[in-house]
Structures are given as C-alpha cells and as structure tokens.
Amino acid sequence: MSKLETVGLTKSFSGLVAVKDVSFHMDEGEILGIIGPNGAGKTTFIHLVSGILMPTSGSITFKGRDITYAPAHVRSRIGIARTYQLIHPLENLKVIENVMVGAVFSKDKSLKAARKSAEAICAELELDGLNRDTTQLSILEIKKMEIARALANEPEVLFLDEVMAGLNSDETKQVIATVQRIARERKMAVGVVEHVMGVIRELTERVIVLEAGELIAEGPYETVSKDPRVVEAYLGGAA
C-alpha cells in the first residue's frame, strides 16, 4: 500500500528548477534507492517531502492526507523523518538528549520514556557513551546519533540523505543494514540517497533516478542501471 505519494512536484529557485514534475510513491516497508548525479535535486526533493522547503507546484500526500504545505514539525509528528546530508548536531545537548528530542516532540513521550527508547535505539546502532557532548564524537558517531534521532521519531517513512558521506563503504553498509533490519521490524519505508552504487545494489529493492530535477527512470537497480538514459546521464558521466 502506498504511504507517501507526490504528484507533479516542482521546486524552482528563482529560475533554476531543482525538482521538476516528480511523481513518485513509496510503499509500506520498502527500501527505495534515490540516485542521480551531483546537483540532480535529490536533497531538494527530500526537503520538499519533509517540509523544510515548500514546493512551487505539485502535491504531496501521506497516508491519503494532503500535506503539501504542512509545516515540518507536523510532518515529523505524523510519521515522516529524515537525516541531513550535512550534519546537524544539537551541540548544547548531550548525545542521549539529541536522540530524545525526536521521541519527546514527535511522539509526545515523557522525558523518562523518551530516554528509555533513545537508549534502546542507540544500542541497536551500537552507539555508546551517551552522556558525552556531541563535540566529543567521531564523524561516524555523529551520523549514528542523527540516524538514532530520526528513528526516535518512530517514523513510518524515513529518508537518509547520504548519511554515510565521508565514511568507508563497509561502515556505510553496516549502518544501513541496521536501519534496514529496524525498518523490517517496524514496517517502515526508507528512502536512501547514496552515491556508492554497491550500497544501493545490495540494500534497495527499487530505485528512482533523478537527473536535472527530473525523474528519468524507476525500477530494480539491475534494470535501471542498464537504462540507456541513466547510463548516459549518470553512470556514463561518472565513468
């Protein structure tokens, strides 16, 4: 069943069309790869769906509800969470508190209950030293903390925007595999933006390809990667 759907989603920045007429859907429990060359509009697309940016035109529905112009905090409360390509730690909060924010404000949990669920999520991601300041964390730990915070929102749809940029592909795979396992348990849909094709091939069931803001191909990675348009636009350019 389709959880999240966009129709003709478009965003232009004073002339530059970053996302152009994108219609897509995400189903319950699926792991979707979102790929495309640099500047293709992947991050902008996630900003639109999560409410960080408002679209120029088009519509977004979540579980049948029109959320095209809903504010970001409302979307996170109803079940759409995300991480950022550039890290966004809350540096005056401890690691555990960073993670608790998601549970307290999206799920209206008490501080005590939020702490408990935050601890459980961090344990699954193998993140410890939860009473540290965020300035003491390695880049891998910050990324894990931000994934944990997104998971603490208990979303039904989660977007990971190049969570692992700057890490090696083993670390990347390990972290995304953990998220995938959690996703299965919770029947959560996950959209993964990633430049490392090995990760996309191994972990995703379906892929959409963006190029210059347009959705140019869709399907299992094996099929999409042979699509001539994709080869030309993306793989061709990279090779």
């Binding site: 999560s50 996170s76 969470a81 909060l93 603490a152």
Partner: protein, 314 residues
C-alpha cells in the same frame, strides 16, 4: 545521595534568605530587594535567551507591569495584591499578542524590535496624561503592607522564588530540550517535531509575566512610579550584565551574577550616580569578548579539567 545533598542545600539557603529580616535592618533589606528584583529579571532574560532570542524588552515589560499594577489600584480600585497578579497577566497578554508578530523575527531584528517596543510603552505612558499621569507619573494612596520592610522583603522574595521555580522547570522539563534545540539548530528542531513558534511563545509569555510581576511588586513597594523610573534602562542593562557575568543558559549563573553585580551596583550608584550604566556596558562587552561562558562556565570547565587530569593519573 548527591541529589539529597543538593536538596538540603537548597532548602537551607531558602530558609536563610527567608529569615533575613530577623537579622537585617531596613536599609540592607532595601538593598536586598533591589538585588532580588534584578536577579529575577536576569533569570527571566536568560530563560528566553536559552532559545537563542536576545530580548532588549525586559525593562519594557517590567515598566508595563508597574503601570498596570499602579493604575489598576489607582483607577480601578483593585486590591494591591490582586494588582500584582493582574499586572503579570496583563504583561503575559501583551506578550502573547505581540509574540505573534515579533517571534517570527530572529537575531538582531528581534532584539531591536523589543527595544523599540519598550520605548513605545514608555512614550505612551508619558503621553496619556489623564490616565497615566504623564511625565510626572503616578503616586499610590498607600504603600503595600504600610511600607513594613520585612513584609516588602518577603513579597519580593516570593516573586524571586516563583521566577527561580519557573526557570528550574524550564531546565528540567522538555522546555530544556525544545529551547536548546531551537537555539542550536532550528532546521533540526523542526524536523524532529519541535513546534518552534509554540515554544518561543511559551517562553516569551512566561518570562514577560514574571517581568511584569516584578514591576508590579516594585511599584507597590515604593508607592509611586514615573515613565523614567518604570522603564529605566537599568532594568535592561543590569540584568543582562548579571546573567552574562554569572553564566548564561542556566538558573544558577544569573543568580550568582546578580549577587556579585547587585551588591557592586549599590556601591557604584553612590560613587558614580550618573556613570554606573557605563560600567555595566563595559562589563557586558568584556564578558562577551573574554568570558562568554561566564563565571559558572569557567568553574565548570576548571572542574572538568581537574576530573580529566585525575582520570589520566589513575
């Protein structure tokens, strides 16, 4: 164990300050009231600052509370105690209405707007001759408690305790997470469910109510006010300097800063009656430049270093 220790310390400290009138005469009690008023303002300024919003409007809400209370008694025949609550509610209501407009602003735009509002309140009071008494201000028929100084002291202490209590609640509840998240990274806060406007509005309304309440207590204790006294820049500069000196983003920092600077300011007022504001300005600048974490920040850092050194020696 540790929690119990600090609990006992807090109760003991509260008992001592409650008992002050047993040892102190009218003059020191007066000084204490002034320090407590500034302390409450410093704490309330800091409470909003925890969200990253720097208000220059505290003297405005303090003055507004003073006038609301004085005029409620004078023109409305309200009981003086009730007028203190009325002033707090009035300041809260004004903050609530203004909040919808100004809490969309950030950084310097918010600060300057709050400063302008304070000036507007003052000018309005100065020009509503028939209602507010104009530049000459208002004189109340009598001072609350007939000016009995221990009672005035306890009233002011009550206002301070309430302020500390609300600030403590801000530190220990989810307000702490909300305000800190907003201060650190609004994008991150929003995408984790924080309704930024709601929490800014709560903080702005709550702190404005406290500031209005302290203004009301002040006017009822002195029995008169004028636009220049009620909206005195002292009520802005001194609390800011206190919070910065002691250490911002906490309850204890502004309290420590208020004790230090509050006592120093009584002395400064006598020594340089017209220049003491300059001294607070200089303190604000020096602290921001060289000690942005304040005295408590320094102490915390020193303690952490000591602990680290200890751990390395093991």
């Amino acid at each position: 164990m540790k929690l119990k220790g600090s609990y006992i310390a807090v109760v003991a400290a509260a008992a001592i300050v409650i008992a002050f009138p047993a040892f102190l005469g009218a003059y020191p009690l007066n000084v204490a009231r002034s320090v407590m008023t500034y302390m409450a303002l410093a704490i309330s300024w800091d409470m909003l600052l925890r969200s990253g919003q720097i208000s220059f409007g505290i003297a405005g809400l303090f003055g507004l509370g003073s006038y609301a209370s004085a005029l409620a008694v004078l023109r409305g025949g309200m009981n003086p105690f009730a007028s203190v609550l009325f002033a707090a509610a009035f300041a809260a209501l004004v903050a609530f209405a203004l909040g919808f407009a100004i809490l969309r602003l950030r950084a310097m735009y918010f600060s300057i707007t709050t400063l302008a509002l304070m000036e507007i309140f003052r000018i309005v009071m100065q020009n509503l001759h028939d209602f507010s008494g104009g530049p000459e201000g208002v004189v109340l028929p009598k001072i609350i408690f007939d000016g009995y100084s221990p009672a005035l002291y306890w009233l002011c202490l009550g206002g301070l305790f309430l302020t500390i209590g609300v600030s403590w609640y801000f530190e220990k509840s989810k307000m702490h997470l909300a305000l800190t998240a907003i201060r650190n990274d609004e994008t991150s806060a929003r995408s984790n469910g924080v309704n930024i406007f709601k929490y800014l509005l709560i903080a702005f309304v709550a702190t404005s109510a406290l500031q209005g309440m302290m203004g009301a207590i002040q006017v009822q204790s002195y029995g008169f006010t004028t636009p220049d006294t009620a909206f005195d820049a002292n009520f802005l500069m001194l609390p800011m300097a206190m919070a910065l000196l002691g250490g911002i983003h906490s309850t204890i920092g502004p309290m420590a800063g208020a004790v230090l600077l509050g006592i120093a300011s009584e002395w400064l007022k006598l020594k340089i009656p017209y220049g003491h504001l300059v001294v607070y300005g200089v303190i604000i600048i020096l602290v921001i430049l060289f000690m942005p974490q304040g005295l408590f920040g320094l102490a915390r850092k020193a303690m952490r270093n000591r602990r680290k050194a200890g751990a390395n020696n093991e």
